[in-house]
Amino acid sequence: MTTGAHRLAVLGAGVMGVGITALALAQGLPVLLIDIDGAQLDRARRRIDDELRMAQLMGRIPAERILGELATATSPEGVAEATAVIEAITENTELKAKALADVSARVAPGTPLITNTSSIPVDELAEFVDRPAELVGTHFMNPPYLIRTVEVIRGTGTGEETMTRIGSLLTVLDRQPVVVRDAPGFVTSRVLHPMINDAVRVVQEGTAGVEAVDALMEGCLGHPTGPLRTADLIGIDNLADSLQVLYERTGDEGCRPCELLLEKVRRGELGRKTGRGFYDYQEEN
């Protein structure tokens, strides 16, 4: 298999940074993973190892595949060598704008800057980069190595060359892009996140318990994992941030993060990544 000369840099070693890195390594691409927090990078190495084992378990890594090499760094200098940069930091416009502005000044012109945002419009972030034509959005689902379809968000200013390059990168990653126009939450978050918010509200109002809500959404409506289990997989803090972004930009009351969701965030019960969310993931013995 040829991977061309792709060298990926990923910013942010959270859930999605880790998942996207694991996907790229599994497809044989070298990755530089950058996070300002060194301890977070140490945890990320272990999580990436777990995700690669999971990918192997699911038959997503052919036996003959040579995995890509992982490098980590606490400073962004290495992005200069990358053929594409994927930004996957906290869902906060200011933080993303700052990180993208910094990277934009360091990469070679023509390098696609990919913001993996759940809901912040690409056009808002484009104002902060040196060459807005190079900025494009992706929305990988978690876990990226299991879910082949990737939402690609073309901003108003995203250039043709950038669209070609991200298409080629996603082909090498064996992903299937679906390109949509820029808007708050694009398609998937705009539809899914208020639905999950409603599922949480139903639990909050005492209509049904967590398991019952997921069982109904799975059994009657064909949702693959149930909305509350999905919330745990996304990360409840990220979900609340994304809903807030949607609420501020659309005014849709259904997007205002409900009280139970915010309470989970305050308690640090953020889902799978902390061992507890709507479900418990800790070892019971």
Partner: protein, 96 residues
Amino acid sequence: MDATHRTAAPDADAVAKEVLRFLETKTKRSWEPEQDLFASGGLSSLFAMELVVHLEKSFGVAIRGADLRLDNFRTVQAMTALVLRLTDAATGSGGE
């Protein structure tokens, strides 16, 4: 396999019992040893990784390489066979 190994390594019944106990605690339902856990109406394949981690912790084995495939975790029986094979290899009676 001699008697020494039989007492050192876990026996099939003990392994199967522990895996069933773990499954029942985690999923709040009961399972048969031959039942396909991931068949329609069963568990999400994401749960398989929890099984891998639990088996490694409970029985002190490392599940790597070609052993990491879903078919090894599809039933309690398959997991039991895997654990016995790996503990056997570790105690040396597997010929390694």
